[in-house]
């Protein structure tokens, strides 16, 4: 499916998705409540068949925290980027997609560890790199650590 058809398809499924200009990928911001249902349909419907989640990142945009999903279909070769936002910096949470794309399990643990975004229904949400009891989430822009981060 080409990007124009795909864009119409996504907007048909989630009318309040926000389209973002991006040179490389077709990009949408999805309301958090609709992300899990949309993901299920993206993977299961044969004309889209997004079966390969090749990157999952957490981003701190200061005004809000964002999870970015890079998706590809191995049959149709089309790609898509979805973003989910939360503006709660303390208890911000989005739904997990690790029941749909299994690779997300570790990626989401990494995002939780370093960016502090929680994932609802994740089977084992613990810190991945840092030890339990670490204070703060290092990839956030407001993270200050005078001991472990050496300023040059």
């Amino acid at each position: 499916m080409d990007n124009a058809a795909l864009k119409e398809r996504i907007l048909g499924l989630v009318p309040d998705a926000e389209y973002q200009e991006n040179k490389q990928f077709l990009t949408f911001v999805i309301p958090p409540a609709k992300m899990h249902d949309l993901s299920l349909r993206l993977k299961s419907e044969p004309d889209m068949a997004f079966d390969y989640l090749f990157c999952l990142s957490g981003v701190d945009m200061v005004k809000f925290l964002e999870v970015v999903y890079h998706l590809e279909s191995t049959t149709h070769k089309h790609q898509l980027v979805l973003k989910v936002r939360t503006d709660d910096r303390i208890n911000g949470a989005v739904d997990t997609v690790c029941d749909i794309w299994r690779t997300a399990e570790l990626h989401e643990r990494e995002v939780y560890d370093l960016m502090g975004i929680r994932f609802n229904n994740h089977p084992d949400l613990r810190r991945f790199f840092l030890e339990e009891g670490w204070i703060g989430h290092p990839l956030r822009k407001d993270y200050v650590d005078e001991v472990n981060i050496v300023e040059l």
Partner: protein, 375 residues
């Protein structure tokens, strides 16, 4: 007469217990800890514990300029250092819309493939060693030295080169580069037969790997297992084929796909890839065009505000670089999608139900480099 005491015999088969494999276990090839739940000898499940070598490279990138970031990427997957450099260079060139000279593309492709062979040689060494064949280690390292010598001659260092810069190369190749590469290919074509004689055809090795650690194609895609490990399961994931960069679109090479997805196939994928890499180098080595070794670049590189993503085929799978720029000379956010990280996520699934000794073989066939997982 001594009294015989009958101790109550415990049925260990029924009891589940945990052991730590690592962080200092030789088969994890680095500091990775696997907490394995066992019932007798059978693996019930395992949980990886990472972070022993986490340096926060993504956070460091936010303070560094793009040419500086290249030096950090070497330290992720140090066995495919050149290919990691290539990813960042391509990302910057794409963002600035710089056209690099043809000569640079040819040289980069050749060096990437040499790097891939060197990486697979070291994998072969350690895989043989994991299976108990220590001789493999000496054979593999002997041949890998020849490639490192070529790198040293041209770029002055053997492991972490950082010889790619945005726009081209740090320096031109040595005048003897072509001659030495051709000599190496001739040498290695002969020596790789020894590899097959020593390990591939070995009955013990085959019995320990065939049918062990199965990963289906659907699971490989779902877990994001890429590179030779993913292709062994039949997942066509070669970035060089699907999203060509360098001069991969001009050379003829096969993307070899497996069907079974067991440990032996993952082994064979890498053996076959070494042959394919040599074929790629042979097609390019005599045709390196003359010209500059770098495009004209500004002294300070500022990427236009926006998002960029670049994929390359590292020796262990797909490496992705996701960069958000706000127009400054340092990125706003840099994320590396490292192949080993995703490959590790499948380990629990693959190794359920196998014997603990097979876990070593499976781990070897997935070919971890721990600094790439931890970053």
């Amino acid at each position: 007469m001594k009294e015989v005491i009958n101790l109550p015999v415990k049925n260990v088969e029924e009891e589940e217990y945990h052991i730590n494999m690592g962080p200092q276990h030789p088969s994890t090839h680095g500091v990775l800890r696997l907490v394995v739940s066992l019932q007798g000898e059978i693996v019930k499940s395992l949980k990886p514990h990472c972070g022993y070598i986490h340096r926060g490279i993504e956070k460091m990138c936010e303070k560094d300029t793009y040419p500086q970031i290249i030096h950090l990427t070497d330290r992720m997957d140090y066995l495919s250092a050149h290919i990691n450099n290539h990813a960042v260079c391509l990302l910057v060139e794409k963002a600035l819309e710089v056209e690099v000279p043809e000569r640079v593309k040819y040289i980069r492709t050749i060096i990437d493939e040499l790097n891939r062979i060197a990486s697979h040689q070291l994998w072969w060494c350690s895989f043989g060693m994991d299976m108990g064949g220590l001789t493999c280690y000496f054979y593999g390292l002997r041949d890998r030295e020849k490639i490192l010598d070529i790198f040293e001659e041209s770029f002055g260092s053997r492991l972490l080169h950082s010889s790619y810069t945005p726009g081209g190369l740090m320096m031109d190749i040595h005048p003897d580069f072509q001659k030495n590469v051709k000599a190496f290919i001739k040498y290695f074509r002969k020596k790789i037969r020894d590899y097959d004689d020593l390990l591939t055809g070995n009955m013990i090795m085959q019995m320990r790997t065939k049918g062990v650690g199965l990963l289906s194609k659907e699971d490989a895609i779902s877990y994001g297992v890429t590179g030779p490990s993913g292709r062994a399961s039949g997942f066509s994931c070669d970035v060089r084929k699907h999203h060509p960069y360098g001069v991969y679109d001009k050379v003829d090479f096969r993307e070899i796909l497996g069907t079974k997805g067991d440990t032996f196939e993952r082994y064979m994928m890498r053996m076959n890839e070494m042959h394919e890499s040599m074929r790629i180098i042979e097609q390019l080595i005599d045709n390196i065009p003359a010209g500059d070794y770098s495009a004209k670049m500004k002294a300070v590189l500022k990427l236009p505000a926006g998002e960029y993503y670049q994929r390359v085929e590292a020796s262990r799978g797909e490496l992705g670089v996701y960069c958000i720029s706000d127009g400054n000379k340092t990125p706003y956010r840099m994320k590396f999608r490292s192949p080993n990280f995703s490959n590790l996520s499948a380990l629990d699934h693959i190794s359920r139900g196998v014997k603990i000794a097979d876990l070593v073989a499976i781990g070897g066939s997935l070919d971890y480099v721990i600094p790439d997982i931890d970053r």
